[in-house]
């Protein structure tokens, strides 16, 4: 009897505390959303606002003194557009090279009948934890005459061992051994099997690796900083560095009324350039999102 009432009461009690937990959970989620979104939202409204209103703290929720001057000012800076073009080229070419290099290597390493698999895996993995460092790498790039060239941005550092491991794990679980055995009986060679069977079955992993590469290429500035000198080769990020971080626009201005106007534009430009540089790469994610299922991600760290 007593036990029965206990049983009857229990769900009710836990439902009550569940409700509190549920509420707290959603309060937490909303706070997180605000913390993540507000800085981004602020940049958007600031890019459409009068910079003096932004500076004096009048812009909180809506733009104030609506203006498109920041975006018009973008057109006056040809180096931004040169950088934009370069970044698009580096991203497309770099991603293609990265995919060819790493997906192929990942597939070959996934095959159990590859002689020397252990040694080859070690050859790759060792580079994740040990490297020559900045100066020896710099000297090597110079020895290969790659310093200040287009190629240095897309070729020498395109091997991503982590991506190879992720791909290898995907192929191990996603491509059944029987498939290769059957193809072999039909007289199909490794390369044809790879091109006609493996790749079409591997769209999810290709999509995910392409996203990683594209985002990395779009956002990186380190290689450009170290290995490029010619401004016509600069990617967008290095141009952004001048505008956003080292403030080269503002220090070159001087004083006077003309300088005031220029300062106003320089301030606006900082907001608009952030928007223009960030929105395209963010737009890629939704297209790849559906591939971020457990199948791809789960093997990433294990093995």
């Amino acid at each position: 009897m007593e036990a029965a009432t206990k049983l009857a009461l229990q769900p009710k009690k836990s439902a009550g505390s569940d409700k509190i937990m549920e509420t707290l959970l959603y309060i937490w989620a909303v706070i997180v959303l605000i913390i993540v979104l507000y800085p981004l939202y602020f940049i958007i409204i600031a890019s459409f606002s009068d910079p003096s209103a932004v500076g004096s703290g009048q812009v909180w929720v809506f733009p104030k003194g609506f203006t498109l001057d920041g975006y018009k000012e973008l057109l006056n800076h040809s180096n931004i557009w040169v950088g934009y073009r370069n970044t698009i080229v580096y991203t497309v070419v770099g991603t293609l090279i990265g995919l060819v290099v790493n997906v192929s290597a990942g597939y070959a390493l996934s095959r159990k009948d590859l002689v020397g698999r252990k040694f080859l895996s070690l050859f790759f993995i060792f580079t994740m934890f040990f490297n020559g460092g900045l100066v020896p790498t710099f000297l090597t790039i110079r020895d290969f005459h790659l310093y200040d060239t287009f190629l240095v941005m897309v070729l020498p550092f395109s091997v991503a061992v982590f991506d190879i491991i992720v791909a290898r794990t995907f192929f191990r679980t996603g491509i059944p051994t029987e498939l290769w055995e059957a193809a072999q009986i039909d007289g199909c060679g490794n390369l044809r099997f790879y091109a006609q069977m493996v790749l079409p079955l591997s769209k999810p992993i290709i999509a995910v690796l392409a996203l990683w590469f594209a985002v990395g290429q779009w956002n990186s500035y380190f290689n450009a900083l170290i290995y490029l000198q010619n401004e016509n080769l600069y990617p967008l990020q290095l141009i952004l560095r001048d505008i956003l971080v080292t403030n080269q626009m503002q220090t070159a201005l001087g004083t006077g009324e003309a300088a005031q106007i220029a300062l106003r534009l320089a301030n606006l430009l900082r907001y608009s350039v952030i928007i223009v540089a960030t929105v395209p790469i963010m737009c890629i994610y939704p297209f790849v999102q559906k591939h971020f299922n457990k199948g791809v991600m789960i093997g990433a760290v294990k093995e």
């Binding site: 229990q10 836990s14 505390s17 569940d18 549920e22 959970l25 959603y26 937490w28 989620a29 997180v32 959303l33 993540v36 979104l37 800085p39 981004l40 602020f42 500076g55 703290g57 290099v101 790493n102 192929s104 290597a105 597939y107 095959r111 009948d113 590859l114 002689v115 080859l120 790759f124 580079t127 934890f129 040990f130 020559g132 460092g133 900045l134 100066v135 020896p136 790498t137 710099f138 000297l139 090597t140 395109s158 190879i164 490794n190 790879y194 500035y221 990020q237 956003l244 971080v245 907001y271 952030i274 540089a277 960030t278 963010m282 994610y285 299922n293 457990k294 789960i298 990433a300 294990k302």
Partner: protein, 309 residues
């Protein structure tokens, strides 16, 4: 007898290699690139023990032994860069559990539509470049006309210059990382959670387990292998405060709190062309990280089943 069987073995191996030549062709680009641009510089590391003169080349430059290591250990910068690097690493190490907590909480969100929006939004900052993040921080944290200046003025106070403060540098560095990457880093843990069989939760519910008990006894144990692997990797990078953000956040005002090994290596090596000195500092850093990684992996292997290799 033994001989003939091993040579037969060898022959079979060679046959297998020959049959699979296509696979080696697939590996070729990655292997060549690594040999040229990763392994060749490893050989170049010997300039750390030489007085490297570009005109003489690596081979012909004179040996100097540990001269440049001693120079680093005896320099004023040694204690500063090591202290900053270790401190910032440990600081960001403390935030390691945040993506785990984040994943557990997201996993508790029941409303599917809201959950999806929440995830997409919290992943977004990951796609912002380091340069834009630092630019954002400069705009928002400017005491004069930034957001923080406006907030302080609402309360009639003067905003501190966070970007120019040596003691605030580590906090800015770590918490901006948390803001940017916690959502994204939780993906891997969410993937692990999504592989928990629903019947496990159902069985727990039948047994009268509360929500908290399900987290404690199902979710957390599920996440431990992933967490340990990532933890080992993280410790291997203990002396590896990334160059990209530290360098951008640096200025003359905060330099005593913001000079880390990677930025120092860059300045010595490429800005003032002291190649051997820079290579020595870099090598010191790499060796410590590598040793830590091996050590931690060994410990982890010994006391749990988790290991990197």
């Amino acid at each position: 007898m033994i001989n003939s069987s091993s040579s037969g073995n060898m022959q079979r191996q060679l046959q297998r290699i020959g049959r699979n030549w296509g696979l080696y062709l697939l590996l070729l680009p990655a292997v060549v690139l690594l040999l040229c641009f990763t392994y060749k510089p490893m050989y170049g590391v010997i300039i750390a023990f030489k007085d490297f003169k570009p005109a003489l080349g690596i081979m012909d430059s004179p040996w100097v032994g540990f001269k440049y290591f001693e120079k680093f250990f005896n320099s004023y910068q040694f204690s500063v860069t090591i202290k900053n690097t270790v401190f910032i690493s440990l600081y960001s190490f403390v935030t390691f559990p945040l993506p785990i907590v984040f994943a557990i909480l997201v996993n508790q969100l029941r409303a599917n539509r809201f959950k999806r929006v929440f995830q997409t939004v919290t992943y977004m900052p990951h796609f912002i470049s380091t340069i834009v993040i630092v630019g954002l921080m400069m705009i928002l944290l400017s005491p004069g006309n930034g957001l923080i200046g406006s907030i302080y003025r609402l309360f009639g106070a003067e905003a501190p210059n966070l970007m120019g403060s040596a003691s605030m540098f580590s906090s800015l560095y770590v918490w901006s990382d948390v803001w940017q990457h916690t959502g994204w880093d939780s993906i891997i843990y969410l993937a692990a959670l999504s592989s928990v069989s629903p019947s496990l939760y159902e069985a727990a519910t039948v047994d009268g387990a509360s929500r908290w008990q399900k987290i404690r006894y199902i979710d957390i144990p599920m996440l431990i292998p992933t967490a340990v692997t990532l933890l080992i990797l993280r410790i291997g990078g203990l002396l590896g405060v990334g160059f990209e953000k530290a360098y951008l956040l640096q200025n003359n005002l905060n330099i005593s709190g913001s000079e880390v090994i990677s930025t120092y290596v860059y300045k010595i090596g490429l800005l003032s062309s002291q190649y051997s000195f820079s290579a020595a500092i870099n090598l010191f850093n790499t060796v410590i990280n590598f040793t830590l990684l091996i050590l931690v992996n060994y410990i982890s292997k010994k006391y749990s089943e988790n290991s990197l290799w």
